[in-house]
Assembly symmetry: C2
């Protein structure tokens, strides 16, 4: 039996300094998800309606939220780089790089851990990031090169650290286990954007994809701005450069950590 | 660096039919956690201040919340069975069985997944359960023998199911892996009470301790009322009876599932 998700989705609580296009996109995401929950059961939200520009299936909930964000980008006359749509070039210097619905499986099932993640890029350079946790309206905002009010834990060593992981997948079981064994606490929240925000605010020490190459740049874009601004580091476990590339078929294994030494140690553990 | 957790804790939103002692205990828990977050950094909240009646360390955040609940139980002149205090017998027919702070590690770190779980027992029989998610005020209420407004998914088979697990521990790695391999999606939210509520409302198919014998009866008490009322099943992976026993040194490996066949299959997977 599939039921409606019986909880409201509030508007995000945003600081006044957020760029208007980014802020409008976040509000549009929350409202679209709120409407989607009222109109569709969990099974309907999870229904795969298309294959996205990133080569993975698009659920109904992804499409409904992305469509609302795309309208916002059009209204603000900015380019859009997003999961399903790919790159929509409006000839603007400004591009919204978004993960409309991070944690789609959570969002469709009613596990209350899903996020909007958006980055404002000017001439290809990320200048500002906004993460909103759709179920609660909590927001994390960061501007490249400026300190944030929240800070990472600063932890430098993996032994005993509190580490979130992507779920184990067939190709990444050994490195998954190496990281889990070294860490003191392990969680799997199934939302990269939320787990990256938790690293930024010092709730967990690190988050990583232990080598399954699941991450697209839209999954990691907010972390690239937010986590360094809070004192941490973001890198690819296999040393590939993280780039705001419109080619969404590219994949990475992101390591998001409270410090550069911890990021390096986790990457070494994953590489084995 | 350890910081304050910079988010408010709302009062829980409770249905009017909740027993007054249980409702007051839940509100007291939320307010005590709110005060604790304002007054103490994450490191201070995690400080181990004592060994509880259950034989595990009590963090400061556990004590602050339990103390507030204990005052409530005293005011209502009911017995209390709780993590740190153990059994406080006031000669009443009514006992509050509580997990004051389920997900203590989350609560102290600021991972926003911690709960109050309380059961009202009359002459040793559980009659009513209340779960509140402290970070959001969401509540799940159930009365023994009466259907709830929310329902489990009803799923009967483990293959491809969405299963939450306790984190892997040295003694339970093989069964952890057997369950994770069989399941379609795996999460570790580190809050038994919340994960049980998510089974009850149909957001995930099951939650289990894969044989590490971590669960005390206070961890599973709300599930014992809430999940069967919503159509699911709760059992111990090794077949031991689940009893509201004042001896908190007893341990179980709880299996909380959307249906009895799924609970049985997961228990068999864990037993190996």
């Amino acid at each position: 039996m599939s039921t409606l998700i019986d909880w409201p989705v509030p508007d995000p609580v945003l600081p006044p300094s957020v760029d208007p296009a980014l802020a409008d996109a976040a509000v549009a995401a929350s409202r679209a998800y709120a409407r989607a929950r009222l109109a569709h059961t969990r099974a309907e939200l999870a229904d795969e309606v298309a294959e996205g520009a990133d080569g993975t299936p698009t659920m109904l909930v992804d499409r409904l939220v992305e469509d609302a964000i795309a309208e916002t980008a059009e209204r603000h006359r900015v380019n859009l780089l997003s999961e399903e749509a790919g790159f929509v070039d409006r000839g603007s210097a400004v591009t919204l790089v978004v993960d409309p619905m991070d944690g789609s499986a959570n969002a469709a099932a009613g596990v209350p851990l899903c996020c909007f993640g958006g980055v404002l890029a000017v001439d290809g350079r990320a200048t500002e990031a906004l993460t909103t946790w759709l179920d609660t309206g909590r927001a994390w905002h960061a501007v490249a090169g400026e300190p944030t009010p929240y800070r990472t834990t600063g932890r430098a060593a993996a032994a005993g650290a509190s580490v979130s992981l992507l779920r184990p997948k067939p190709g990444s079981r050994d490195p998954w286990w190496r990281v889990a064994t070294q860490a003191g606490r392990v969680r799997i929240l199934a939302s990269t954007v939320l787990e990256s925000a938790l690293v930024a605010e010092g709730a967990i020490d690190a988050f990583c994809d232990p080598g399954s190459d699941t991450h697209r740049i839209v999954d990691l874009a907010t972390a690239l701005v937010t986590v360094p601004a809070a004192g941490g580091a973001v890198l690819d476990a296999l040393g590939r450069p993280l780039e705001l590339d419109p080619d969404l078929t590219r994949r990475w294994s992101g390591v998001v950590a409270a410090s550069r030494p911890l990021a390096d140690e986790l990457a070494a553990l994953i590489a084995g």
